[in-house]
Amino acid sequence: MFENLSEKLDKAFKVLKGQGSISEINVAQTMKEIRKALISADVDYKTAKEFTATVKEKALGQEVLTTLKPGELLTKIMKDELAELMGSSSSELNLNSKPAIILVAGLQGSGKTTFCGKLAFFLKNNNKKSPLLVACDVYRPAAIDQISVLAEQVSAEVYKEIENKDPISISSNAVKYAKKNNHDVVIIDTAGRLAVDEAMMTEITNIKSSINPDEILFVVDSMTGQDAVNTAKAFNHRLDFNGVVLTKLDGDTRGGAALTIRSVVDKPIKFIGTSEKMEGLDIFHPDRMASRILGMGDVISLVERAQQQFDEQEARKIQKKIAKNTFGFDDFLKQIQQIKKMGNIKDLAGMIPGVGKAIKDVDIDDDAFKGIESIIYSMTPYERSNPNVLNGSRKKRIASGSGTNVQEINQLIKQFSQMGKMMKMMQGGGASKMMEMMKGNNLPRF
């Protein structure tokens, strides 16, 4: 996620390696590098300057109190500072009212509508809510269609008034409708607007005063540059929003906006968007993000996501099958589907410490499984549970059925048998410890 920044910081810390203690001089050099790295990651110029100054001050102050190496000490101080800069704890939505009204605002193209769909999905699954999506973008062509399609995807109801061009009355009608129809959350999607567009900013202020939302969320594209400060301040000034949503975090640089906005408007980042899929929404955890920035990975997020999606019973069944050597292609297929449910594999892998960097230039998304799936679907049930029977003529048939060639089939069989071996090995030793960890015990908390 923040690989690029981490890489740059790694480089900056290299300057410190091999030095016994933190002195004014070696810190200054490192800080200059860190500041450049932060600025290149779109952290606001002033925020970067203040941040490095604070870290430097703390580093010099702590020198005598620790036995850590300078690089390690600085990493720790930076991580603590980053976490503090981005908010000291995660902040949840206030959903106490019936219905709880959530107003979503932001610039054009920041990802408001996609976020609304994801939030509805999230609240349905995690909070057992019955959300009502409200289409208040009456300006952009097909915006209402877009939210309707997303509503259908997440099986939520959408409230729209095709003929009504007044978002203020649509939003207040929607709240009435929600009350009557037992929706406990109302999510209001609004049109994208520029902070300097006075008419549009007045409009959203009027929406706010007419429905009195419990939560106002400001949606920001994580790729935003130095202008993030201006925009966030202007929206905050008009709406006094409760929290920030950072979108498109599955891209490659970013982080700058996360660091900046949190510090300059003093509002928490509540969610991060990490794909175009409706599952691609996570609660923002400042401390985890700080660890991630410093290349320490995000083990907790990974474990939580895995727990959420991974069916434990299914896992046990598979374990037994591996032990008995009856693990077949059908089980393989199930595993693939489990993994796919967890979201983008690159996201997941990026959360493992040290892996983020290694897979920076490798793309592994769900399409990677398409070929494998079609090959397995072209096998007979007998073949799926008895991989050993696959001979030349069977392979030929499968190849023509799946639109692949025999070579690809051989490759899959090879990978499959390697995987089987690997899984057996994992069952023996280290893996059981790993499984314990995955079940939520003894998690490292940083």
């Binding site: 600025i39 309707s148 935003t224 498109k248 891209g251």
Partner: protein, 329 residues
Amino acid sequence: MAFFDKIKNLFNNNDKVSSEESSQKQKKLEKSLEKTKTSLFNKITKTVVGKSKIDDNDLDDIEEILITSDIGVETSLKIIDRLEKRVEKDKYINSDELTDILKKEIEELLVVSKDITLEVDSVENVPYVIMVVGVNGVGKTTTIGKLAHKFKKAGLKVVLGAADTFRAAAVDQLVIWSERVGVDIVKQAMGSDPASVAFDTIQSAMSKNADVVIIDTAGRLHNKINLMNELSKIKNVMNKVVTNAPHDVLLVLDASTGQNAIEQAKQFSSVTQVNSLALTKLDGTAKGGVVIGISDQLQIPVRYIGVGEGMEDLQMFNKEDFVNTLFNN
């Protein structure tokens, strides 16, 4: 009040303030938004006035100014380097001269390109094919609507291809634009193969003797290699209908995007040979300074700028105007 004091104050707003003070702060904020453009210029004037040479402190200040305009560390250093060399030659310099030199140095980093309407005749007997690419939410579809309007006004027959078959209601959005502008559109069902939409569009345009084809594509983050490969597949299919198509690959960039835009330009270029840029949302407070680095490093010109949501809100990029707006002279 100096530019940096102002920012410092905005940072220190954790202090408890009276309502009168806070309303003053609000006014100040509004004013500062108004002044985002002028403050850059004023700052430079202040740092160099009455000096025969630019000293290190002045240059540091200029660097800071360039960076806060999203010009980026690398390009800012390059601009300052060029400025320094100029100042070495011309011993005496006043603030006006310095600003002019600075502007010229920046302008020299910007490559220019012609309006597409002037290039349409360069292809004979076939439509001029434009493929529009970019990350999610930059304004590809809106830009296409505006471009179609512009070409139609220039008397060209336009056909749009709705090859964003992925994002919810993307096809509907382009259909509405085609109706608004009054041009033909070729579409298929959501989820269908975008390459096949592109293929159909060009074939249909040929049978209709159209002059220009604009193919919309789904937004995609440039680090998703499979989606990027899909883009080159769409591109290659066009070449099968019309040799050398697409004639133009237009990368749309959001002006509020920071340094990541450079990576976007690099990655999209590597799969589709981007040959021009459209910089959108320049009617906000963002300056889009990152295109200077893109233009310099990758030699990709900015062709169009988007300045609003209306049909007419598309302009030719003019580097002098662009740089002047950075300094708001």
